[in-house]
């Protein structure tokens, strides 16, 4: 008798459950986002996503941040994702909504940021008809997403969204777009939970091969001039990976340098840290790379900004390359020991092997290697000529560095250009996930929306967008978003009235013919901030820096700081295009650079 009742009860429960599981496509989107841990979404409404916006309104369970342009929704989701280690989410409408999102998607693809973007689409029966606000979204986004879906059946919707999350965060992370026709948003179907779906389709290799670890450790323990070269892959692997790597690097006593994307994975205040490498990296980092005999690359991809001339890249070295993406291996540079693996698992395996073999015994050689590195350090490649009259951008950043010293709740985003490189050179990055910049794609206008995403995730933190006056204007409409959601982001504009990096190349390579790079008709940034209801600060003299920076940090609203910096300052050190790591230019002498870059180098970007 009692068993019977319990069976009936069970059946009733099951029935109730199924009943609850029948819902509209729009409700499924909300449910699937919630089930995948999304509580915040950045987006912009439009005709083709109205049912989803209605579901957001009615459920009240998802925080929606209304941006002013879809590109910003994607960058904000990137900032959110990179500062939290979670998946970022964006919602855009069909046609122009989706095409505006393309830059953000491409940015996330190149910098391996896990993003889910849901785009509306015209109803299935209108697809291909050149309907109003129709664009071939899956066609357009094919090369700029990790994967994309067009959902044409309601039965497939829930499992598609769950699979999209799995794809976005598994292996090398990346953006995934789900194109959702309006009739599917209205259609009713049965919702499936994430645990009801099998993900056998996409299971990339994440564990290192034992034999490759053995080969790698043999190189590491016999190295005489080793160097760690690490990238964003370590940060993507997680905080554990960064901690393990820091432990391993300290254990070995080897020098370490990172790419632009890798900054923060190893504490910059450590003595083994050489600074960033590459085109505007430090002299010591690049010289160490050039002369090393064993290079241990973890989660970096031998990008052209890092290698310089490929046939003269670290010519005396054996190279170990740990990457989760097999296509990153042997793409630009041939490596001796490839290891396809997640960074954390590979470092763990290397650490165990290191202990088993008793470490590196070449004590004298390593000491000599460090002596050599010290001599390169003593060149003091980041020194610049300071001035009392005008603000040098480097000095402004040095004062900012002083002002945020010791705080671990500071997040920095940047736009793209000279200010970005100076920020990478002069600001301290001691923790992962605190530095957000557009590395691969180099998207001007990334910094402000990204800062908005970061501040949304960390309401009490100090979020600073290091900016240039040109880049800032590319997405400055987002000031409204910052005000609407009371996000006290700080926009620190190094205003030199030029598109500085382009101007620098014109000066060095195009006979100082400054074609269209002067920032004409600039707005009054203080008034601009005020117009939106934020705070505006202008800094005109070096002596004002400390006081005004303090004022910025203490401000509890969106704040623009217009730092009027020196107009002609160029970013050094620099590896001229087409040159090797040991061909660095330290001095700002234009004459020397003109001679340094050959005709072939001029053609490169």
């Amino acid at each position: 008798m009692s068993t019977n009742t319990s069976i009936i009860e069970k059946q009733e429960k099951e029935e109730q459950k199924t009943n609850n599981m029948i819902m509209s496509g729009a409700d499924m989107v909300i449910q699937a986002l919630l089930d995948n841990g999304i509580d915040t979404i950045f987006g912009y409404p439009g005709g083709a996503v109205l049912p989803i916006y209605d579901a957001i309104f009615q459920s009240g369970k998802i925080k929606h941040i209304l941006v002013r342009h879809e590109q910003a929704a994607l960058h904000a989701a990137e900032g959110y994702a990179r500062s939290t280690g979670k998946v970022g989410a964006a919602l855009v409408t069909s046609g122009p909504g989706a095409t505006n999102a393309v830059t953000g998607l491409t940015d996330a693809l190149l910098d391996s940021v896990p993003i889910i973007c849901i785009s509306g689409q015209v109803p299935t029966f209108l697809i291909g008809n050149d309907a109003f606000q129709e664009a071939d979204t899956t066609g357009i986004t094919r090369p700029c997403t990790k994967h994309n879906y067009l959902v044409k059946k309601i039965d497939k919707l829930a499992e598609t969204i769950h699979e999209a999350f799995h794809v976005a965060k598994t292996g090398r992370p990346g953006p995934v777009i789900i194109d959702l026709p309006k009739d599917i948003q209205f259609a009713e179907g049965t919702y499936k939970r994430p645990d009801e779906i099998k993900y056998d389709k996409y299971q990339p290799q994440i564990k290192p091969q034992e034999s490759q670890i053995e080969k790698a450790i043999n190189l590491i323990i016999s190295a005489k001039k080793p160097v760690f070269y690490t990238g964003g892959g370590v940060i993507n692997s997680g905080k554990e990976a960064c901690d393990l790597m820091t432990e391993f690097v300290r254990e070995t006593g080897f020098p370490i340098t990172s790419t632009l994307m890798g900054l923060g994975s190893y504490p910059a205040n450590d003595k083994q840290w050489l600074g960033m490498l590459g085109m505007h990296g430090t002299y010591e980092a690049n010289m160490t790379m050039h002369d090393c005999d064993v290079m241990i690359c973890i989660g970096a991809r031998f990008d052209d900004r890092v290698t310089g001339r490929t046939d003269a890249f670290a010519p005396f070295s054996k190279k170990i390359h740990i990457d989760i993406d097999p296509s990153s291996i042997n793409k630009n540079i041939h490596v001796d020991v490839p290891i396809v693996s997640d960074a954390e698992l590979a470092i763990k395996a290397l650490m165990e092997a290191w202990k088993k073999h008793g470490g590196n015994k070449n004590k004298t050689e390593l000491e000599n290697w460090w002596k050599l590195i010290e001599s390169w350090r003593n060149v003091k490649c980041l020194s610049y000529k300071n001035s009392e009259e005008e603000i040098k951008p480097q000095y402004a950043l040095e004062r900012l560095r002083e002002a945020i010293k010791g705080r671990d709740d500071v997040f920095v985003t940047t736009e793209v250009g000279q200010h970005q490189m100076w920020a990478a050179q002069f600001l301290p990055f001691n923790k992962p996930n605190h530095w957000m910049t557009s590395g691969g794609l180099g998207t001007m206008g990334y910094g402000l929306p990204s800062a908005i995403g970061v501040q949304t995730a960390h309401p009490d933190a100090l979020v600073i967008d290091i900016s240039g006056e040109a880049s800032f204007q590319m997405n400055m409409q987002e000031l409204g978003t910052a005000i609407q959601y009371k996000l006290p982001v700080k926009i620190f504009i190094l205003n030199n009235q030029w598109m500085g990096m382009v101007r620098q190349w014109q000066e060095l390579l195009h006979g100082e013919r400054y074609s269209e790079t002067y920032s004409n008709a600039l707005p009054d940034f203080v008034k601009l901030a005020n117009a939106y209801g934020g705070k505006g600060i202008v800094i005109e003299k070096p002596s004002q820096l400390d006081e005004k920076i303090k004022e910025m940090i203490e401000s509890d609203v969106m704040t623009i700081v217009d730092v009027r910096v020196s107009k002609n300052e160029n970013c050094f050190p620099m590896i001229p295009s087409g040159k090797a790591h040991n061909d660095m230019l330290l001095s700002p002498s234009a004459e020397e650079i003109k001679n340094a870059i050959g005709a072939a180098g001029k053609k490169l970007v």
């Binding site: 094919r142 994309n148 067009l150 310089g308 001339r309 490929t310 046939d311 296509s327 793409k331 072939a600």
Partner: protein
């Protein structure tokens, strides 16, 4: 094998590297957009594609096989395979050229128009090549020929002076020899 100068990705040096032809067999989910992803990869990254065939091969599991013949330096071919492997609906990429013995076949339809001696010569040549006649009129033949691509090339060359009108080729289909899967 031919040798061609390629520009280094980021440098002034000109490398001399040999380019080889490889036959790749790719198993993919039979869903919209997969072929576009594969082709887009080749055009987007500047890889060469010589021949491509695709059709559903397993209806129950919803799988298609794409066979691609491509050329490149060993480093580029390695990249092509790895990049193909990154596409989510791609299940397996096999390089039949590296893997060992395999069979490659192509089918072509060859239309020849002519009278008298040419017509007799065409049908004689077709017999030698074991090409069948699939359409015939008083002044034309359409031959069906199957074989390796070079055999088809040779047949076409011989048909040229005999009144070749047009050709349709399927591209290469290939499988590895022996009992193992490709």
């Amino acid at each position: 094998m031919n040798t061609e100068a390629t520009q280094s990705v980021y440098g002034e040096q000109i490398y001399k590297e040999s380019k080889d032809s490889h036959t790749l067999s790719i198993l993919v989910d039979n869903e919209p957009g997969v072929l576009a992803k594969v082709i887009g990869l080749f055009s987007g990254r500047g890889y060469n594609i010589e021949s491509l065939t695709v059709a559903e091969t397993d209806h129950d599991k919803n799988l298609s096989r794409i066979t691609i013949v491509c050329t490149g330096t060993p480093m580029v071919v390695e990249q092509i395979k790895n990049q193909l492997g990154r596409i989510i609906p791609v299940h397996k990429v096999s390089d039949l050229t590296i893997k060992g013995p395999h069979v490659e076949r192509e089918l072509a339809l060859v239309k020849v128009a002519g009278r008298n001696e040419d017509r007799i010569e065409a049908i004689r040549t077709a017999e030698i090549f074991r090409a069948g006649v699939v359409d015939s009129t008083t002044d034309s033949f359409t031959f069906e020929i199957t074989g390796r691509s070079d055999k088809i090339d040779a047949f076409i060359k011989l048909m040229l002076p005999l009144g070749l009108v047009e050709i349709s080729r399927t591209g290469v289909a290939a499988l590895s020899r022996g009992k193992e899967k490709s």
